[in-house]
Amino acid sequence: MAEEHYLELSENPVQFEHASSVNNVFFDEANKQVFAVRSGGATGVVVKGPDDKSSVAFRMDDKGEVKCIKFSIGNKILAVQRTSKSVDFINFIPDYPHTEFSQECKTKNASILGFCWTNWNEVVFITDQGIEFYQVFPDKRSLKLLKSQSINVNWYQYCPETAVILLSTTVQGNILQPFAFRNGTMSKMSKFEIELPVVPKPAKLSLSERDIAMATIYGQLYVMYLKHHSRTANSPSAEVVLYHLSREGSCKKSHVLKLNTTGKFALNIVDNLVVVHHQSSQTSLIFDIKLKEPDCALNIHQPVLPARSIHPYRIPLSGPAAVPSQPPVPCQLYSSSWSVFQPDIIISASEGYLWYLQVKLPPTVNLLQDKGKLMDFLLRRRECKMVILSVCSQILEVGEKGSLPVVATVFDKLNQVYKDYLEAEQSYTQAMESGPSRGSAAQKRPVRTQAVIDQSDMYTHVLSSFTERKGVSHKFIIAVLMEYIRSLNQFQITVQHYLYELVIKTLVQHNLFYMLHQFLQYHVLSDSKPLVSSNQELILRRRVCGSVDAPHLPLSPSRARLPRRAGYVHRFSVSLLNCVLSGVFAAVSGEHVPTRTPAVPGHAEASVHGQRRDHRGSAVEAAGSGCAQIHPQRRWPRQRVCAEVPGRGAADRRPDAVLHGV
């Protein structure tokens, strides 16, 4: 059976001493650090971060039970909360006094719910009566209140990426007040209300901290609300409601993710996908909010893929007792001891592991039958290139009835992304050329993501092997190649010559010269790079393999002459002749010849034997009564040039150019 687990835990988890009666474990979402505090810090605090650099170990005096412990950004200052009234600070900057200093919250009778670092020296206290924004002066061992705001707070959430703090206010707790912090300023954002499934009477706190999470998806900040089902309301199953939180303007309910089940859930964000873990079924669902469900003002989403559990994970035994031959122990997934943090962190405090959740793309290919949707899904993922290319190969491999429309949709989707990138790149180049003085900061060089699949990718990984595979009908091969060329043209992307070569090679191998001729006639196989008239290829083919019958060629082989009139004509002709010749050789010998045979230019040279003759006067003959027949034969050079248009470029060719090309 094919691999179906599309979610996995990271290979190298962060390992720490598991929680116990003497060891308290804390997690800081901002720095993604795990703090293992043994006996209040007296016997040591071990900090493990995502990399070794952010890992620290130190000792501090045991001044009571630690409620919360966090480093400021860059591990400069450590903040420890031991009471509900104050927070203690310790400098970790070298050459600064290491003695602890403390700050009580300004509001009287308030108790501190928690604190967040918004910068290396800026900290926010969240109390049940409001928030206080401080600047820390480590040298002076003091804090300065920058700003504060009174508001009744039930609980809070912090999104470190955007430095936004979300406060739950009112009795029911469903009015949420966000605050944004940046460079020493605190700004109040517009508050919004979460629609509760049932309004309790009498009013009591009904929105739990556990059901709200904040995360950035596709660069936008969302508040995710896990809306449980209720028997009274008409919601048979739970759903996740996403509120889009923009810096300016109001917060809007924007997406609804249908979970189609009930129970305990947890949320993660991985690669811009919303992952919903369901504990009782031990499975997870993923949602992509950009996969549009049409005709719906408010986007209602179904899971992209069927529910699957996270890939089974085995814990390698560690410590001195571990014997290398001993098999690793399977780890219990979806355990009740798991804590889930945004965006993609899962912590098992009892086992002492911190994992990053990851999406594996290959299994999704077989789970999503609609290839168009699959492409939409894959194109938005980070590590998608090879998977997309393998999907392309797979579609072509099947080659079953009716697969061409699918191929067309897939190509169109790929080329849309490709085109967007090319346009961005072009406008960037133009902006650079026009002078960096104007708005140079605004123009950033477009990032080429993995989703940009260009022609050489397609050629190397998909098309070249596809055309060489045995047992595929040439009709299908040509149809696919033409479909790709059509798609590129549709997006006004210049087609690379090697694609033309592939078409020509396939047509030549199957003796489809009339088709080739028609393609050339309608400029399907030209434009991007001027090609010589089809005449020459066909003639040359006849020359090269006179045995192969070319019935529609009325020419004698001796007529194969190459243009010499203009240098460029000759230059580009070589490349095309090249590929035609190699196609011909392949057709004759039954094997493939690399398209760029060095011998070919010579070959082309050899066939240029334009004879120059002197221009002599025209011979005038009297013929018939009153008719003067003039035979200016000698004015016509013997050398023949029959290139249909090369040169002038596509720009000045009128749409009815074909008319004249025939």
Partner: protein, 475 residues
Amino acid sequence: MLMISPKMASGMQEKQYTPSLLSFFIYNPTFGPREGEEEKKILFYHPSDVEKNEKIRNVGLCEAIVQFTRTFCPTKPAKSLHTQKNRQFFFEPEENFWMVMVVRNPMIEKPNKDGKPPTVEYQEEEMLLPSCLLQCYSMYKLFNGTFSRAMQAGGVELLMQKLEKFFYRYLQTLHLQSCDLLDVFGGISFFPLDKMTYLKIQSFVNRVEESLSLIKYTAFLYNDQLIWSGLEQDDMRILYKYLTTSLFPRHSEPELAGRDSPMRPEVAGNLLHYGRFLTGPTNLKDPEAKFRFPKIFVSAEDGYEELHLIVYKVHSLVCFLIASVELTREFCEQLDSLVGPQLTLLASDICEQFTINRRISGPEKEPQFKFIYFNHMNLAEKSTIHMRKTASVCLTSVHPDLMKILGDINCDFARVDEDEEIIVKAMTDYWVVGKKSDQRELYVILNQKNANLIEVNEEVKRLCATQFNNIFFLD
């Protein structure tokens, strides 16, 4: 039997007669080699009411001429024999099968004043007829396969039956008097189209062929002009001839008749698209409808294959598909529902292009230059001389004498392999220029009073630069 069509009666009471078919016969000398069995050689003879001995005599004469000339050139026996009154054309399409056409030369009858019988002058101008014979054979082959195929299937009797059935009708549609340069070329007029629309059509063709696996080849025409052919060139050439001169004119009349006319066939009540079959059933809903399509024979890797021709039309866009087996109602319905809507879309796309092209090329009714262009390589032809060409009438915008000059130039070109340019000044202030460059031939007719050779040459250069800017003519 003489088919005489007086063309012009001048004030002098002169009568001109155009060339006309005297006889047409097919024979195989190996079928009656012994004396007394000569009649067996004759497979078909037109006119049929000729006395038996005369038939035998004419056939024998042809046989003798061919045999005699063979001694001079064994590989290329005589192709035609010119006499004062008529010309005979010989053609051996298959081994030992000979087709012969005897045509009376055009002549002028001058009445004599004193009651004597009028004097007749035969004219010995070039006639563009050899191609006609080849076309006869190709047309027969398209619908019946080769002669030897009929021989294998049912012997001489079957072959004679088939020949009789086919040529009896076909010869009636031969119009030798309107045979001109375009008939010699037997070219295909291509529809100018931009790359993107062309690729869309490609995409459509590929999809249709993929989803309806019975369909082996597809071709596309718009306004009687070819856009795409999946068939080989030679097959397409003759099929194109059949479609444009026979099938389409037959079907265009009911369309022109207007909506309310009783001549207009009941459209199948299909509101989704405007597609209909030109061959096969006229109305899919009709329970009595017959699902019979004409059989055609096209070249395949191993000889010939027998196929069924489905012609499907939406507005001016015709798509014809060629399937390999007997077709059923289900298939036709499937095809109708699949092809109809897509073709309707494509037709409007192409129509849009067509009007744009026409707008660009200018509103003038009479094209500035009158020319005929032909490319031997891809059989592409283009004429601004012919207004409309149907089987019976060929409307040209120039005088027949000029057309004759074109024919003469063409004959000159055919004799030499080299590139040539011929400039002719006709009696009526017209200049006719013929240009042959590699595989391409261009004939231009200019009407410039008092123009000299240099000016005419410049004019033609200008034409090449504007109208054929993407074709490399040599000069």
